[in-house]
């Protein structure tokens, strides 16, 4: 446990110093701050547009950070030979991979936390929204955190066998398709009008790919009509789904990484 913990804290220390990530993070914070400020100037904009725009920025920036952070994580360790020093200590490969992944999750938590904090403060300051709206934003930020934790697991899994560049597009692709799963499911798999083979394929794809659209429920523009019957059940359900999926990905990654030459 000590080894995993110190590998992950060291990973956080490195991540929060990576210039690319800091630049993306700063752009994110900037965009998130501009939205509520601008909305004060333009009379037409309502709470819904503001919330939606802020969440859109938060999500895209978080996803970008998650991918950029994780695709290089393992390859960098190998290229700089830091992994050799670590693996020559009594550290198993699975401990290394888990430590790296937890470090990525912690770093993502810090960065999303920062953006979400700025978002909430400025939203409150400029729009004086009802408390319920604030809580909605907070809940959505937490869902995004789970979403990018899952995405980070996808990228770590791929990084055990593909190069960073390929991984970047693969992970982005998986996220892209995964965020459209609910609409895809509705138009193909669940559509009695489409051919059985298409329905079958759509069912297969939608059940095997990680479903990222589950994590974007609170965006009032993307999901206008969505009302969640039982909030607690929903959050626990999506969190559980994410955790299960992450576990499977990390175990698969470990199995590949264990056999691999580094």
């Amino acid at each position: 446990m000590g080894a995993i913990l110190s590998i992950s804290t060291t990973t956080v220390g490195e991540a929060i110093r990576r210039r690319v990530l800091l630049v993306i993070l700063m752009i994110g914070v900037l965009l998130i701050s501009i939205v509520p400020a601008l909305s004060v100037l333009s009379a037409r904009s309502d709470l819904t547009t503001t919330i939606s725009s802020m969440l859109f920025v938060l999500r895209i920036v978080s996803v970008l950070i998650a991918i950029v952070l994780t695709v290089y994580m393992i390859p960098n360790e190998i290229e700089r030979r830091t992994i050799y020093t670590i693996l020559s200590k009594p550290v198993q490969r699975w401990q290394f991979l888990v430590g790296k992944y937890l470090g990525a999750v912690l770093a993502l938590g810090l960065m999303i936390g920062l953006m979400a904090g700025v978002m909430l403060i400025l939203f409150y300051f400029f729009k004086h929204p009802p408390m319920e709206r604030m809580l909605d934003l907070l809940r959505q930020a937490i869902l995004y955190f789970i979403e990018v934790s899952l995405l980070a697991a996808v990228a770590i899994f791929f990084s055990t066998f593909v190069t960073p560049l390929v991984n970047f597009f693969l992970s982005a692709g998986v996220w892209g398709v995964g965020s459209l799963l609910n609409p895809l499911y509705d138009s193909f798999a669940n559509n009695q009008g489409s051919a059985p083979i298409i329905r079958g394929m759509a069912k297969f794809v939608t059940s095997i790919l990680p479903n990222f659209s589950n994590y974007d429920v609170k965006n009032p523009i993307i999901n206008p009509g969505v009302t969640i019957q039982n909030e607690t059940t929903y959050y626990l359900g999506t969190a559980g789904y994410g955790l299960l999926y992450i576990t499977i990905l990390i175990i698969a990654g470990i199995l590949i990484f264990d056999r691999r030459e580094v």
């Binding site: 080894a3 590998i7 060291t10 050799y84 200590k89």
Partner: protein, 321 residues
């Protein structure tokens, strides 16, 4: 060679490292399958400094990585401190300094030791302090690695490699790319490790530095061991040149030593003879003949010569075959 494989992973006392026909094969598009490490039989005794020498690309790093379980052998077997390679327990008592290592640049020297210490479950500030003192970095403990010179980085690397008080250290090109002063510092530390009873396995392609400190060496080229043994034995066959004056032709005619050349000119005698010949006898003879000894110069073979010989022999041998 016909001995039974060790039972229960226990080797006869004394061997810190033993490999039997250890082989690593890589496939390349141009050359097909190549044995980068080719049926290697190594034997490293406990408590010695062992030099693993060879030109770039000889297979040194690949061998070390196999011994550490970082990559997997294609064939053959290897034992480290009596355990089969890959055994995690061994990792508690060995350590490794990779070639051109890199340390997380944002960390200070002290933080590096804390980080690597944590991987062993060691959190002993006094110990970290002692190690920093040992490698002469106590004054730089709070500087970040990005502020360290190459030599300082190598020394913090050596400090981290001592965290677990290892019985066996693998140092891959430990003096590579360092200036002469840093070389000397590293060499002194390595000698100190041996005095503390540790076994040190050094890989290097820079011979002059290594030859002064190694007890035994193996020369590897293209994945194969060419020579292996005590440095004195491998370097045997040096020559000695004796120059004396005030002698006559009659004396010069009596000088006879195997594999020697004798020249005599105007009373000056120059004998170039094998180191193994009777040098003392010759010197006594010169004194008895009232000659004057001007110089006795041993021209020892250097590791460098042996190295070049070995590798060029290999080249011409390869062409003949």
């Amino acid at each position: 060679m016909a001995s039974e494989p060790p039972q229960g992973g226990v080797l006869p006392l004394g061997a810190a490292i033993e490999t039997r026909q250890l082989t690593k094969t890589y496939k390349s598009r141009a050359l097909g399958k190549i044995n980068v490490v080719d049926h290697l039989d190594l034997q490293v005794e406990e408590g010695e400094i062992f030099g693993f020498l060879g030109p770039n690309g000889a297979g040194k790093t690949t061998t070390i990585k196999m011994l550490l379980g970082i990559i997997y052998p294609s064939a053959g077997e290897g034992y480290v401190l009596g355990r089969e390679i890959g055994d995690m327990d061994v990792h508690r008592v060995i350590s490794y300094l990779p070639e051109r290592p890199y340390y997380y640049e944002h960390m200070t020297g002290m933080e590096i030791l804390k980080f690597y210490g944590a991987l062993f479950g060691i959190n002993d500030k006094d110990k970290f302090q002692r190690l920093l003192e040992k490698v002469n970095l106590a004054g730089d403990a709070t500087k970040t690695i990005s502020q360290y010179s190459k030599g300082m980085q190598q020394r913090i690397g050596l400090a981290q490699s001592l965290l677990n008080d290892p019985k066996l250290l693998f140092l891959d090109e430990p003096t590579g790319g360092l200036d002469p002063i840093a070389h000397t510092e590293i060499r002194d530390l390595i000698l100190q490790f041996r005095d503390e009873g540790r076994t040190v396995f050094i890989s290097s392609h820079e011979l002059s530095e290594v030859e002064r400190i190694c007890d035994r060496v193996a020369i590897i080229n293209k994945g194969k061991i060419e020579r292996q043994g005590r440095l004195e034995d491998l370097l045997r066959g040096g020559r000695i040149e004796v120059i004396a004056d005030g002698l006559n032709q009659g004396f010069a005619d009596t000088v006879r030593a195997p594999e020697s050349t004798v020249s005599f000119h105007n009373g000056r005698l120059i004998v170039d003879m094998s180191e193994e010949g009777d040098v003392n006898g010759l010197l006594d003879g010169i004194r008895d003949a009232k000659g004057q000894i001007i110089s006795v110069v041993p021209r020892r073979r250097r590791l460098e010569d042996l190295f070049i010989e070995t590798i060029s022999e290999k080249k011409s041998g390869g062409e003949a075959a």
